[in-house]
């Protein structure tokens, strides 16, 4: 079985992952889920980079290095995103604080 699309199998999967993650990022509303969606988009981009690097003489090491760098940066930014979500959850919403101040002023 030698379908012409098999060469691009992993790169196509990566493209589908990017689309899936993007759709999830737009449609899902909870910030933690959006963080998951960003991770899926990142995974898709890495698969595209790596999947297009497999040729006749083994896999190209250059995209591999780029993907390793990307994975590390992705985890750093996921940690930052999670810390932001936790901080937003820990603070009361500004509308409540505003309502509290207005109620205090109209005393």
């Amino acid at each position: 079985m030698d379908l012409p699309v098999l060469d691009h199998l992993f790169a196509l999967t990566g493209a589908l992952l990017v689309g899936l993650g993007l759709c999830g990022f737009i449609v899902l509303r909870h910030p933690l889920r959006q963080l998951l969606a960003v991770n899926v988009v990142g995974a898709g981009i890495f698969l595209i980079l790596g999947g297009l690097g497999r040729g006749g003489s083994g896999t190209d090491p250059f995209p591999q290095a780029l993907v390793i760098t990307g994975i590390v940066v992705a985890v750093a930014l996921t940690a930052f995103g999670a810390a932001m979500i936790l901080r937003v959850a820990a603070e009361p919403a500004p509308e409540n604080r505003q309502a509290g101040e207005d109620a205090g002023e109209t005393r």
């Binding site: 199998l9 737009i26 909870h30 933690l32 991770n39 497999r54 040729g55 896999t59 090491p61 940690a79």
Partner: protein
């Protein structure tokens, strides 16, 4: 025969990604993201990219999974009162249509590029000058060392950003303790953590050394040791340090600093990040060990989170 395996793997990757995004239960979604990371590691192995497989499973599945589960647990403890406005149906359908169109365009673009191991031959030709045999390590630490240097600073910057997100009263206290509350559970995890930590150190040291010629490297090694540190912290075997502890700050900047110093020394000799002939392997291994130490502590602290006020720790 391998074609059937590849197709099955890709179908499973897409299935777990869909589950990670669209399952109702958030914890199940996070678990499916971890499974996705492992399946992606398997995909990298199929693509003959063993270094990337190690990094993906350790960092993409391992560290990201622990990070998200911890964030979810802390969010639930805070009451999970994050505001989520629902989306009207027409907006959802429009978004799905838009993403489907974008995916179609991206797939056509991807299909138009022929897979090609473009730079493999040129990199293989240059490897004997450096003296190491792992081409990915060569690219990371010799040919594109500048990118790796900046990446280490990005890690450090992310940690500073996470630290800055704590409440003002919490600085510079340690993050909220990762220790399991229940003493019975904590002793189980603590016993394993105490046993694992020195073994993780040995594994990390071996991975850095082996990374010169076999798959491995500083990032994978740092992550293995970070995993040992996190498990020891969860079991109560080690505590989390204060943010202004000088020993901690030294370890955090050790990797980037050593890398930068070697780069500037190269600038004195001719060009920034120049490795003189014959010294390349020694310099690369030195940089990698320093980087592994910094990466381990940075990743563990990234997972541990922002500083917490002292009454929240126990």
């Amino acid at each position: 025969m391998t074609a059937a395996f590849d197709i099955l793997l890709c179908v499973m990757i897409l299935g777990t990604a869909g589950a990670a995004l669209f399952l109702r239960d958030p914890l199940a979604a996070i678990v499916f993201l971890i499974v996705l990371g492992n399946l992606l590691g398997l995909a990298w192995l199929t693509l003959d990219a063993v270094n990337v497989a190690l990094a993906e499973i350790a960092i993409g599945a391992g560290v990201t999974g622990v990070l998200l589960i911890l964030a979810r647990a802390r969010l639930v403890a805070l009451g999970d009162n994050v505001v989520c406005e629902p989306m009207p149906l027409w907006a959802r359908l429009g978004a799905i249509a838009l993403c489907a169109g974008f995916t179609a365009v991206l797939s056509c673009v991807v299909l138009s590029i022929t897979p090609d191991s473009g730079l493999t031959a040129r990199i293989e030709a240059l490897m004997p000058r450096i003296g190491i045999e792992n081409p990915v390590t060569g690219v990371l630490l010799a040919f594109r060392a500048y990118d790796t240097l900046l990446e280490t600073f990005v890690l450090l910057g992310a940690l500073v950003a996470v630290w800055s997100l704590g409440p003002d009263t919490a600085w510079p206290h340690p993050p909220a303790a990762l220790r399991i509350f229940d003493p019975g559970l904590r002793s189980v995890a603590g016993a394993f953590g105490r046993v694992l930590l020195p073994m993780a150190l040995v594994m990390a040291a071996y991975l850095v050394w082996a990374g010169s010629d076999l798959p491995g490297g500083a990032f994978q090694a740092g992550t293995v040791f970070a995993g040992g540190l996190l498990l020891a912290a969860i079991g109560g075997a080690i505590g989390l340090p204060r943010a202004d502890s000088p020993a901690l700050r030294l370890v955090l900047v050790l990797g980037p600093l050593v890398f930068l110093m070697i780069g500037l020394a190269g600038a004195v000799l001719g060009r920034f990040l120049l490795f003189p002939d014959g010294t390349a392997k020694m310099l690369i291994v030195t940089i990698e060990y320093a980087l592994a130490a910094s990466i381990a502590v940075t990743l563990a602290l990234l997972v541990a989170g922002s500083p917490a006020t002292p009454d929240k720790q126990d």
